[in-house]
Symmetry: C2
Subunit: 428 residues, 2 copies
């Protein structure tokens, strides 16, 4: 079959009729499938069930340093939890703070502190007339919601296989001191699954910024979330801390990780690493906000996951469950859409998403069609600030939650919807 | 023995010599005792150990509405957790939001939202030149740290047996629209153990405020923390929500509770209740901050504590452990200090503290002496904004943490230090 773009009107109309029929058949099945969010599947959650037996009523509730984890105290986290997450953060425990049940809250609070208090002596960002922020696109909708909540003006930054377009970034930050930061998901990015090149990381670390208090919000959410066990098939982003120290901008970054997609989403632990000056300031501010985060949950995680080896072994079990889901999605896209030329996509080696770029101006329609046929996708536009995708093209596919057979059905519907929306567009 | 104030100089010097000798004997014992914080004792923590078996690896992880509590979602809390805390909040579940592991974080975040965004359309407090806050004194040091962190000017409000002095409060708020709120611990207050009278609650609810966005931060931390099982020996503060609705100021309050002193401090759940307008706004703001708090811990609490009856039965077990500690402290103060006239104190019927007012100008010295003899008290001044007690008089006694025999030893030291500091002062 030729590419749709090469077809005559008569051929397109015939193709559309066929695809419409196919769509009606899917719709008649009354499906209720969900590929909208990066949620682990039930099978993945089962992997961490033994963690809940680690702290039963007979357990020892003292941390390694003798702290009774059932009582108040320990602002910045148990030593064993710091050691565990410092490994993921590629930093030292002393530069690490353990936060609560999710990294989103930690990132919001980190930005909220900068808004209310500034950072390392700078003017509180909330006191400025305007604050701007760089948003590599497509990106993570919840990041954009955080900056939007604080009234920060978001600037789209195109990305390529190596990360954000650094020529554009460097040009913007060198003259505009109202640009205070950038969102980065540097490894297996959300949604594209790309990993920043070492050069991109070094340029982010070393670029000249008009704002002394420019901060890289480094959300390394997928730092150990590989799809393949062999190291040669895994990505590994250069540590932004290392790069910033080398560039003599040691305070430029905040690194974030969590166990949300390792143990239980919403019932995990999260961690931040930064320079010792930043850590000192954050601890001072935190001391007014909390006596300390949930140490029982920290102890559970430290005892269950143990160390980097324990984490790695655990993540391989996740990969064994989700790898075939990613492969299925790519295969369905390949067989269903390649020959028609309906869109492009990337094949990631880790993370939680496949980023699909539909023909220009069709994403909203595709998502609406899919919903009509019982398949919920992430909303079109969600991967852009303010929910506005200027090309109406990008759709984030989240394959982890549905069981394999449901995913297969959902992808058949999705492929059909992409074809139908593309044909509608070509005939409009 | 006569009161110190009635003694001659010679008598005082003789008394001081005796007390100094006593002090040196205590010091020689090398004690290491802590009455500084309102921490539950190990025996109290044991009461909640069965809660940790509620969610083992064999448990059902679905909430009543079928939500898998191990995965993402549920911004405002599980229905069963809302029902449980709504009871403590004396409000409806629909006006309740469940937060994370501690009420301090929830109160800080509530204030932070008002600073960044205002409340119900008002100017963000952080945009104003000055924000002032009413602080009934003596009060809770961590409350004062929160307002101080945001640069809010704190105003001391004297309290009496019925709560804050409402004549002063009403006079201040009616003309000054920069006064945006008040901290209240309305039942078994920290540190005085008093409970606001119904009249005080009604006046707080109905007073004329120059600031439309004046907010009562109602930290009902000790709402079910009675020392006695008989209802006639329990305090019960009038619900501020009820009073505010009756006064047609329905949006004036935020009510806070937590399970920190019910199950595990730092590993509990917390809840906020407010008017439906406030709840709607908070949920909207929260949606940028978090996907939801730890639902596994919410489920644990709901299944373990069940309902108001379960809570009440559980709190009686706490009372059985701590009641005799309070009685011991009061007895030690009575026998040791009454006849000398060294200070005054209140005998609470609930809560976590006994508030001791030493002779003017001696509190700092007493705390220093006690520390020297191995007994850590809450810092002098801690119960006042900025850590400044204008009379250098109030000391908060926290009797719950030490075992009874340690508490007895610590109180003997404390009584000795009060006598010594008083004698030093009289002879200075």
């Amino acid at each position: 079959m030729p590419r749709y773009a090469d077809m005559s009107k008569v051929e397109l109309e015939a193709a559309k009729k066929t695809v419409e029929q196919e769509f009606l058949e899917y719709k008649a099945q009354g499906l209720a499938l969900d590929m909208s969010r990066g949620k682990p599947s039930a099978a993945q959650l089962e992997l961490s069930m033994p963690m809940l037996d680690v702290l039963n009523s007979e357990a020892d509730f003292k941390s390694a340093d003798g702290t009774d984890c059932r009582n108040y105290g320990v602002l910045d986290g148990l030593a064993e939890a710091k050691a565990l997450l410092a490994g993921m953060l590629e930093d030292e425990p002393k530069n690490t703070i353990i936060f609560g049940n999710a990294s989103l809250n930690m990132m919001y609070d980190t930005l909220a502190r900068c808004m209310a208090f500034g950072t390392l002596g700078s003017t509180p960002w909330g006191k400025l007339d305007e604050v701007k922020w760089l948003c590599p696109v497509p990106g993570y909708d919840r990041h954009f919601s955080v900056t939007e909540a604080f009234g920060i003006t978001m600037i789209n930054i195109p990305t390529n296989e190596a990360g954000p377009d650094m020529d554009i970034v460097e040009n913007l930050v060198k003259d505009d001191d109202t640009i205070k930061g950038i969102w980065c998901v540097p490894q297996y990015s959300n949604p594209e699954g790309i990993t920043y090149s070492a050069e991109v990381v070094r340029r982010l670390a070393s670029m000249e910024c008009a704002a002394d208090d420019f901060r890289i919000f480094w959300d390394n959410a997928y730092c150990i979330h590989h799809l393949f066990d062999e190291v040669e098939n895994q990505d590994c982003v250069l540590d932004i801390g290392l790069a910033c120290r080398a560039a003599e901008n040691p305070d430029r970054y905040f690194k974030f990780v969590s166990t949300s997609k390792i143990t239980f989403p919403g019932a995990g632990i999260s961690g931040l690493a930064a320079s010792s000056a930043n850590i000192t300031e954050i601890k001072k501010r935190m001391a007014a906000q909390t006596i300390g985060h949930d140490k029982l949950n920290q102890l559970r995680h430290a005892r269950f996951l143990v160390d980097a080896n324990g984490l790695s072994a655990h993540m391989k079990k996740h990969a064994a469950i989700i790898r075939e889901k990613f492969e299925l999605v790519c295969e369905k896209l390949d067989t269903g859409l390649n020959e028609n030329g309906c869109g492009t996509w990337k094949t990631p080696r880790g993370g939680y998403f496949i980023s699909f770029d539909a023909p220009k101006g069709t994403a909203t329609r595709i998502v609406a069609l899919a919903k009509d046929a019982g398949v919920v996708m992430t909303g079109a536009g969600a991967t852009y600030p303010y929910g506005r995708d200027p090309l109406d093209s990008n759709i984030r596919i989240a394959p982890t939650l549905p069981p394999l057979e449901e995913l297969e059905a959902a992808m058949d519907v999705f492929v059909c919807c992409v074809k139908l929306a593309t044909l509608e567009k070509l005939l409009a």
